[in-house]
């Protein structure tokens, strides 16, 4: 199962609830303003780093670059994908849940 989160964890509670309710082994994609959750050095880094023991976490690189960051800013263990990679994630998982 793939979870998508498009909101900043500073602004909204979507990422928090997503990580609380995602089953072990589920994939999580951070995109749009959700990419801030994937960034090193923020207040949310520990939360996201811990989640990596349960879930694969991905971040959409174009949304990261639009916001002035790149792969080097991403928490160790979080993988960057482009839109083609986003499509593959959807295809590879049985269902997709958007945490709007």
């Amino acid at each position: 199962m793939l979870h998508t989160v498009n909101k900043s964890p500073f602004e909204k509670n979507s990422l928090e609830t997503c990580l609380r309710l995602a089953s072990a082994g589920n994939a999580v994609l951070l995109f749009e303003d959700g990419v801030y959750g994937a960034v090193k050095g923020t207040r949310f880094e520990p939360t996201v780093s811990n989640a990596l023991s349960n879930n694969k976490i991905y971040v959409l690189v174009s949304d990261l670059e639009a916001r002035g960051m790149n792969k080097d800013n991403v928490i160790d263990g979080v993988e960057t994908v482009d839109y083609a990679g986003f499509v593959d994630l959807v295809a590879d998982n049985k269902s997709v849940q958007a945490w709007l």
Partner: protein
């Protein structure tokens, strides 16, 4: 694989429509089929032909129309959501006694059943919103 796409927000105000467009384009480039793109809530506002965005910015509506033409996409606008927000095609305008319509090329207005059908017929449904 067959994908369905749901767009819940209008153009420009939220990134949802941009993301849905980029995703749809990437899926088509990978050889997937798009069963339908369904526009709900403020998403119906993506279907107006009356936008005039600044020249140095993208034209979100035209982009959808062109992608639909190129790939024969089924772009469906929810009728109930469209009525609340003032999106009409020629038939609806006549039926409602309105003196103008504003729907863009490549979009059609239909019921919510089309969203459910997209959920049933597509192998994956991907939702973009606020």
């Amino acid at each position: 694989m067959k994908f369905g796409i749901l767009v819940n927000e209008g153009p420009y105000q939220h990134q949802a429509s941009d993301s849905a467009y980029q995703f749809t384009k990437a899926a088509l480039e990978k050889g997937h089929e798009i069963f339908r793109v369904f526009f709900y809530h403020d998403g119906v506002n993506n279907a107006t032909r009356l936008t005039v965005p600044p020249r140095d910015d993208r034209n979100i509506v035209d982009r959808w129309s062109e992608l639909a033409k190129e790939h024969n996409l089924d772009l469906v606008v929810c009728i109930a959501a469209a009525q609340r927000r003032g999106l009409l095609d020629e038939n609806e305008a006549k039926r409602q006694g309105k003196d103008a319509n504003n729907i863009a090329e490549g979009f059609r207005i239909s019921g919510l059943g089309q969203l459910i059908e997209a959920g049933i017929q597509s192998e994956r449904l991907v939702v973009f919103g606020d």
